[in-house]
Symmetry: C2
Subunit: 701 residues, 2 copies
């Protein structure tokens, strides 16, 4: 036998393109219809596809070489894209621009931030806090179109993040000159993390303590010019530095800013809410709460982003699992088994698929509610009647729900990214397979726009307060109606346990909804119990809330999962008949898998018995096996092009090995070993000189 003739002795290697093609032979649902349903309509899908194609074809928007760029190149590449997009953002319909940004947030999250700092944060601050004439002035100056002005958002400081009320930067009114003096009194007052400050911004929306006539009025917003718009030299009293390398999103040039007695005209304070007159009188707004509406938008968009990023991660992991083979019979002539055929691999990925759909639908509904709320708020004007009270109630509820959703969806997505990455085995550790950078980029979502832990506590506080109000006869908001059924007047749990042990009952959508309602009610009850125990110890209200923080956080988690499941089921019910079976299966998998993960809660609330939990576990196994049949089709329904997926392992055609090899070799062409002469040759050729000392006469005896 020739030494070249060995193929028949080895296991057969399957063609990955055929492996993935098999998966598409008989989807249980019309894929295109599901895409429309996920996107919210055929027209949106088509607009998305046009945008994806435009991005893919523009050389500016190349992204597969990102891992090989230096920090400086990364930032320059990002800046080179700003102008084109700024023109599109101001000339194209808002809906299209929003959709474009939501795609860019998946393709290039760091650029999304760079762009969003101006349009979302800086211009958003003007929109939300400037008077009409101030807004007109800044728009005239080019603040919307980035003609003459590029903005940044100066809120956080080196020593102060979540507690905006604790910022140290001061804005002191100098009546003599009709100016504010912006000043950073200490090192910890240094503005820190200011995106765009290091290299890009001409102006900054600075959050500072308003001080007038020796009195502090709390944190307000001031437009401060940072750089001369012609020369880009720093303005007098402004010092700026570069924060350098970050965990992710290096496309944005975060910087620090110190102000040393910088003078700005009084009119640069944004005065939609609080006003300072020429005479130095401070006029505070009647309804400060209405200003919080603007805070919600970022959170709502992060729920969408969690869904969108999770869709990409699962596309990569599921498609790869349908072509990667490992172990199996291993006899010559047979092929190894697909990862996706292993129950444990299904178990790793497919509950995450169900979570992704839960987030898709929650994001859509949250977004609709938010738009409605904002249009109500904008129409309120100076009315102070019952409409305002209703709006404030609605605002509080949306604030709490969005806080919980933002926290748990961003945590969920971060986990999905890393689980998907780990499911790629060693290849997940390559920078070219897309998920390590996705993790680093996404991670900050758990911190900014409200640290997740603080948001969950806010949500939990709302749940406790609302439950207490309900005990005092106040009506419950729609999303908390389950409390009424689950908790009796004496505070005991009155929900009915699951009566049947049949798998179809235990894991039905109605049972799961009731189950989650029961544990959420129980968790809120326990948080109320701990809060009241704190009060009974003589703690202040705030300290009693601190005392109950563990159970409060837990209540927020249970409530948010319940919300996710209920909204998911509502979407299943509204969906086209052809899609209902697969969506219902995913909703059941979501509810049942999450219940198994938190089985203690269900046993404690008495809803499920131990045997029923075992039934749920068995259901999760069979549901995974059922979803597995459609798994690749579900990634197809997400509708991301290969350009957006941006991972050779997640290619539509399954040709993973060829394209992975091509990408790695094209980005890392072979060159001579760079340090052979300087380091390797001396290492290999060295000889160790004896390092014993000279002989000593005394030892020779």
């Amino acid at each position: 036998m020739a030494v070249t003739d060995t193929a028949h002795l080895l296991p057969k290697v399957a063609d990955p393109k055929e492996s993935i093609a098999e998966e598409r032979k008989s989807p249980s649902f019309p894929i295109r219809e599901l895409t429309y349903w996920i996107d919210g309509g055929k027209n949106i899908t088509q607009m998305k596809e046009r945008i994806m194609l435009e991005l893919e074809r523009s050389p500016l928007w190349r992204v597969n070489d990102h891992p090989n760029l230096t920090l400086a190149e990364t930032r320059e590449r990002a800046m080179s894209k700003v102008r084109h997009l700024a023109d599109l953002a101001t000339s194209r319909p808002l809906e299209e621009s929003m959709l474009r940004m939501s795609i860019i947030s998946v393709v290039d999250p760091g650029f999304w931030t760079r762009f969003g700092v101006h349009f979302g944060l800086f211009f958003g601050a003007l929109q939300g806090q400037a008077t009409p004439s101030q807004l007109a002035y800044w728009m005239e100056r080019g603040a919307l179109s980035m003609q003459g002005i590029t903005g940044c958002f100066g809120m956080t400081e080196l020593g102060h993040g979540s507690n905006v009320a604790g910022l140290e930067t001061t804005a002191t009114y100098d009546k003599r000159t009709d100016e504010f003096v912006i000043h950073s009194p200490t090192l910890t007052a240094t503005k820190w993390w200011i995106g765009g400050a290091a290299h890009t911004a001409t102006h900054c929306a600075v959050y500072a303590q308003l001080i007038v006539k020796g009195k502090c009025y709390g944190t307000k917003t001031f437009v401060v010019q940072l750089r001369d718009t012609k020369t880009f030299q720093l303005m007098p009293g402004v010092n700026i530095g570069d924060l350098g390398k970050k965990m992710g999103r290096d496309q944005i040039d975060n910087g620090w800013i110190r102000f040393t007695y910088v003078r700005i005209p009084r009119s640069n304070m944004l005065m939609k809410h609080t006003k300072v007159t020429r005479a130095g009188d401070v006029i505070e707004p009647a309804l400060a709460q209405l200003a919080y509406g603007a805070l919600i938008q970022g959170r709502v968009s992060m729920v969408s982003d969690s869904a969108n990023v999770a869709k990409r991660a699962l596309t990569i992991a599921v498609r790869y699992a349908s072509v990667r083979r490992q172990f199996g019979i291993g006899e010559p002539g047979t092929v190894e088994t697909k990862l996706l055929d292993y129950p444990i691999h299904q178990h790793r990925l497919l509950p995450l698929m169900a979570q992704t759909f839960a987030m898709v639908f929650a994001a859509r509904e949250m977004n609709t509610n938010y738009q409605k709320l904002m249009s109500v708020l904008s129409e309120l004007g100076d009315d102070k009647g019952p409409a305002v009270n209703d709006a404030i109630k609605n605002l509080k509820e949306t604030h709490a729900t969005s806080a919980g959703l933002k926290a748990f969806c961003t945590w969920m997505c971060l986990n999905i990214i890393d689980q998907c990455r780990q499911s790629l085995g060693g290849h997940g550790y390559s920078a070219y397979t897309g998920l390590s950078q996705a993790y680093s980029d996404f991670a900050v979502h758990c911190t900014w726009e409200g640290d997740n832990t603080i948001l969950t506590l806010q949500c939990g506080r709302y749940l406790v307060a609302t439950a207490l109000d309900a005990r005092n006869g106040q009506p419950l908001p729609a999303n908390m109606l389950y409390l009424k059924d689950a908790i009796a007047a004496d505070g005991s749990l009155s929900g009915k346990p699951c009566k049947s042990d049949a798998v179809d009952v235990v894991s039905s959508l109605n049972t799961l909804k009731a189950a989650w309602s029961s544990v959420a009610a129980n968790a809120i009850r326990n948080a109320v119990r701990d809060f009241e125990a704190g009060l009974a110890k003589g703690l202040s209200k705030d300290n009693a809330y601190e005392f109950s923080s563990a159970s409060r956080l837990h209540a927020a988690r249970m409530h948010t999962y319940t919300y996710l499941l209920h909204r998911f089921v509502a979407q299943v019910e509204q969906s086209p008949a052809q899609l209902r079976p697969i969506l219902a299966l995913l909703a059941r998998l979501f509810g049942a898998h999450s219940a198994v993960q938190h089985s203690g809660e269900f046993l404690q609330s008495g809803f499920y018995s131990g045997a029923q939990i075992e039934t749920l576990k068995a259901f999760v196994n069979t549901a995974c096996a059922d979803v597995r049949k459609d798994a690749v089709s579900l990634t197809d329904a997400f509708g991301y092009t290969d350009y957006v997926v941006n991972s050779p392992l997640g290619r539509y055609d399954g040709d993973v090995y060829e394209k992975y090899f091509d990408l790695v070799t094209s980005l890392n062409p072979t060159k001579p070993v760079p340090y052979f002469d300087s380091l390797i040759k001396p290492l290999l050729e060295r000889t160790n000189e004896s390092d014993t000392g000279p002989e000593l006469e005394i030892d020779q005896d």
Copy 2:
């Protein structure tokens, strides 16, 4: 009032150095004694301190600028350190070298890998698989001392990772020339992830299918020269490329290798186990299992590494939490509240502190057992009596235990790093605060040396098989003795539930040990149930194991937590009296917090009632508050110098803001904005030309 006179209006800013100093006023235990206990003796602590100081003082070992190095600089910096360490490794006592490497693994994990690839993997392959004369030959050639040879380890392929038996590279014996022909028959056979291959290695330990006389004998190891040691030119038939950027550990130059009919002498096959004679006869070893001992070492070291890296992460997070202040009373003249004083922050960090101690002690014990086992194995020789059977049993048990520990400890540590990072708020996202890179570097531990999911399934398979053996009268290994008490002859659970509701009983170490034993027994029982259900369906043994994989993985998790708790308690009992209270508290926190996280298991096994779970939750809250008093002292006891901690937020003296600012500004000096002329100026100064088309005559009517 002058505009500069505002300090009295703002909240007071606390001195962070004073904030941390307060924490050290009254530790409940002698810190230095705990350091000795953690390290394993005063002499080890002293040796560690000497090594840390030596590293800190060497300019080669600067690490705080790592985030600003390019990929090429990172690799060159790493290579520049190899020579010095190679000389130390071969001239200093083994114990010192091991300790040095364990510190380097925390300080510079990527370098640890670069160095470990030669010493651990390449030379380890020679040690474990070469005959005595082969080993002597390669040592003579410089394979230990890196004089003439630097090695890499060629196991994984583009298409093959976990399944070593499925590798495609062939080593075909050519009797005519007494050579093996090494060949990569397909693209997926390309050696992939080979650390050191891209730029550094002269030789490779290649895993390939041994083919002799038309028969395949499975995967064996062959030494193949990659590069000329004088010119560093690639040898004929060898193609190598660079895998470029990775998620982390960029200090090591991973590469791919393709072999095209490369000829090596027959003697380059490592023949300690399988031998091929000149005539082409293949002599296979009687006890192939004994070769698996070498696999365990990497896992054991990763348990230690998990503990060591977690110590660093907690040092950073806890110290920062003792100086960072946020919210609180907020009146002028008062200071904000320390993060560490918030119950929820204690809840985030201090159970992780308890987990870290659990890993410290498990690692130590695992290491001791492994050393014992290896010395028994090495003394066995060709004996084939009962001593060998005992050794094989012991080996299997250690294999399974180390598989479970490696998986759950690396996952635990990865979670600890990210939880600690998130607890730093926005500053956790900076590359200069140390935890984002720690995450990226550590993540690969969950994949290499056995993918965690596959390892847990192996551990679970052992648990099921051992439980079945026990049912057939075989004795249980020590770590599984709990099965005897918990499971009756008929397979039902016979463990006794917790009888008291008193918090001191519910959360005592004895109760917690019994509780975990009971849930581990229950989980194993359920895995056996599912395995047997698979058999009853007519599945093959292997497929029945696949069928039961979810419950098998779960059994491995419960068993491993039980092991961690039992070993922790054993260490508490052996510890010096002064340390026992704090260690016992940490052990209780570990056991109770883990139980609350898995409360469903305890309710299902009937060990705890729902009310007792609530008692445990309350205990976790008070235990966190108790550990909080010593939290900074515990980080001091870890004994890492500021150099090793390598984060301005984790400094011993608490001077976080000054030093963070200094580091960021020194690494990122202010320079002119790099793309003002090319990108920003044109953006700011552009005007949009009208983009309506020309007028049309037909519209003028």
